[in-house]
Symmetry: C2
Subunit: 446 residues, 2 copies
């Protein structure tokens, strides 16, 4: 693959030692493979020469999935950046994993098609990383998550063998579902080298509204009520007061900094359909006690709302130098309970906890901002996470809706997954990767 | 579990020796377990005493998945027949696998909700069987298949251990996707004992139309064109002339027996939306050269159309005492090619081949009607299947869209699934079922 695509220089290694968890593990080498056969050769070598291989998209993962925690060779998938085909007749696309998700969105939208999964990182995360984590995002309320849009894969097994899974068609049930076993396996069962994705026709129009609430719990109850009435918006995003202030201080676009919570609701479809939906939503929100509703009239207004939503995460650091970011999910009807619990914990501990997220899915991102050097504060934060995870599971939820387990949630996985199931997963890993050479130290607790 | 729920009487055994393939394998015993723990105990015993266990829903499978091909004990899941909860707040249902799919449809529709997967067998097939095969059906064009509506499962492993997989929430990515590994595994990896299913709000209205064509290929091209224009109906069903005659002779409802093909197209959604869709569909169909379009005005008319569609399969036996029924899928744009190929084969061989199916998914059911006692004809039919499977794969399709592999397609699986992938599947089976006690002889070629 040529010297230009391999490096052991410290300045290169350190570029690929980080991800969005801000933890650092220096790899032993960085490689930029150019095709599937090269990856196969690398994994063959890894098995005979005993070195670890860690696949990496753009390193935007939130749980450390692309970190070389035990050393080894980082395989950067950036050269797998081609959209091979967008097939309008069959509403599918063949694409490589290094394509940035946002670029893919633009490419399919230019020809009137739509790829719904849109993690907040879509401007820099890659499709391959999205597959590995089974990324979600705001539009999941109506459209589901990454796994719902994958028909088939090409992947290199940890042993170097190349496999093709799934189909290129709307249906297919021949053999076990290896496709969805790879999706969400966090780069531990294989390296995806090509994907066949399902597309939809692009909705005619998208309309957005912001709904302002005096009380956090009222906002949470409104989310539950919208769904109960059978209204399925494309997104229902939730921002608490700290999130609103955070975004406003960053962007200065006139967000209501006094509000306890905002919902950002989008609907899509035919023009007439969206008009009806907006009307229904206004009625539900007012009857639930919303303080103010604002319909975004222009594209600029809609774009500003999303800028605000996406600005929260990076802007949070004004509250503290370190962030612990969790992405729990609870049944939608339990969001009010979860919000009450978080509020109670904030009061009890004095910790800065900022909540926002995809309320339409019950997917709440709570962020504890702190200085990790302050050991007493760190301990308090860890206890708070423990308590919030326990409560999430008690409410029938899950400790990760879209970030995966990686290294940061591995110590907690046994809270959610029982010993029999965990053992089954480990034995599946062993089938794929007998020597444990691919992306070690992830998902499973030590 | 009591004597009343076990039998070794010949008259009982013979009732459970058949399925929809019309093949017969007498089991050694029939059991009707009443709860998960009983199934666990049976599988524990099976592993220590060395007998096979074969789970069975209503025995409507098309590929022999529930047949005791190597003897053993049939586990009839009929007593697992409770709908445990329909949760309107979270759009989910907890349900047992012995519930008949059609009963579940009615139950959720009564409270304004919707479970889209609807195999043609829905009036008698069970949800558990639908899970095991990953059933599809006509509505998959718009709504996807069974796997898209399963959030979590309880299952008994072949070794007797009880597992819980997945989540009860809209998102969840903790650990490997055991849920979708079980879905479509044809009862070989575990016995599903409880499911958490995702529901949608019930569409406001469903409208149907029949489109009559003078030429089979024009009908096939119209399907492709509808999708290319970004119109996604809820169903696009296809019937060729032999299917039309078949259904008409059975039902006498005035189907156009002279037509070469009919499309049965349904749309759903809000009233205004469906009006627009019907208008768009009429325009596409006319511009493609449809001979006649009839909008079903009353519920009775719509019901009659579905009666006709569902009558084809049983009514086919007027063409011959035996039926070989395949459910191939091709990319939608390749339906015209497939239809041409089937026509050419009919002419060349003189065989009676009847085609109908879910054209919107590219899922064509072709049925060869014959007398299997006529060995020369049987050989001709087997050669035709070989040729049609090869051509399906050449077009980028799959040899099964919804029936699974079972025993009837096991001899062909290696045409579609490569040796590395097949080996991987076998090793996964081994992880779940080291002694091979659960549903042996299925999926994998001998």
């Amino acid at each position: 693959m040529g010297k230009a695509n391999c490096s052991r220089k410290e300045e290169d290694l350190s570029c690929y030692a980080y991800d969005a968890t801000a933890r650092m593990y220096l790899p032993e080498a960085v490689l930029f493979p150019g095709n599937t056969e090269e990856i196969s050769a690398i994994l063959n070598l890894a098995n005979s020469e005993d070195f670890f291989v860690i696949p990496r998209g753009s390193g935007s993962g939130m749980t450390g999935g692309s970190l070389a925690v035990n050393g080894g060779l980082i395989l950067v998938m950036a050269r797998f950046n081609r959209i091979l085909e967008i097939d309008k007749h069959n509403l599918i696309s063949h694409v490589e994993p290094g394509v940035v998700t946002g670029h893919f969105h633009q490419a399919v939208e230019r020809v009137g098609l739509f790829y719904p999964p849109d993690p907040s990182s879509s401007e820099f995360s890659t499709l391959g990383g999205n597959m590995a984590e089974c990324a979600g995002g705001p539009r999941a309320v109506k459209y589901g998550v990454t796994r719902d849009y994958v028909l088939g894969l090409e992947a290199v097994l940890p042993t170097g063998e190349i496999i093709r899974t799934g189909v290129q068609t709307a249906k297919g049930v021949v053999g076990y579902d290896l496709t969805r076993l790879l999706i969400g396996s966090e780069g531990t069962l294989g390296i995806i080298t090509r994907m066949t994705l399902r597309l939809l026709p692009l909705p005619e129009v998208v309309r957005a509204m912001t709904v302002v609430f005096n009380k956090l719990e009222t906002a949470a109850e409104t989310v539950s009520e919208i769904i109960r009435r059978g209204i399925i918006p494309r997104t229902i995003e939730f921002m608490d007061n700290a999130s609103i202030r955070c975004a406003e201080s960053h962007l200065k676009i006139g967000l209501p900094v006094e509000a306890e919570a905002i919902l950002l609701v989008e609907v899509d479809g035919k023009v007439d359909e969206t008009k009806i939906l907006i009307k229904q939503l206004k009625a539900v929100c007012m009857s639930q006690g919303a303080k103010r509703i604002k319909i975004a009239e222009t594209k600029e207004e809609v774009d500003n709302l999303w800028k605000a939503r996406k600005a929260i995460s990076p802007a949070l650091f004004q509250y503290g130098p370190d962030k612990i970011n969790e992405d729990i999910v609870v049944p939608r009807s339990k969001i009010p309970d979860m919000v009450r619990k978080i509020n109670a914990l904030k009061e009890k501990t004095g910790l800065t906890i900022v909540s926002f997220g995809h309320a339409g899915d019950g997917n709440i991102h709570f962020n504890i901002m702190l200085d990790k050097k302050d050991k007493a504060e760190l301990k308090k934060a860890e206890d708070a996470i423990d308590a919030l995870f326990d409560y999430t599971l008690e409410l029938g939820g899950t400790i990760s809706g879209e970030h995966g387990v990686g290294i940061t949630k591995a110590p907690y996985i046994a809270k959610e997954i029982g010993p029999v199931e965990l053992n089954l997963m480990k034995r599946i890993k062993k089938v794929f990767d007998p020597k444990g050479m691919l992306n070690p130290g992830k998902i499973f607790p030590k």
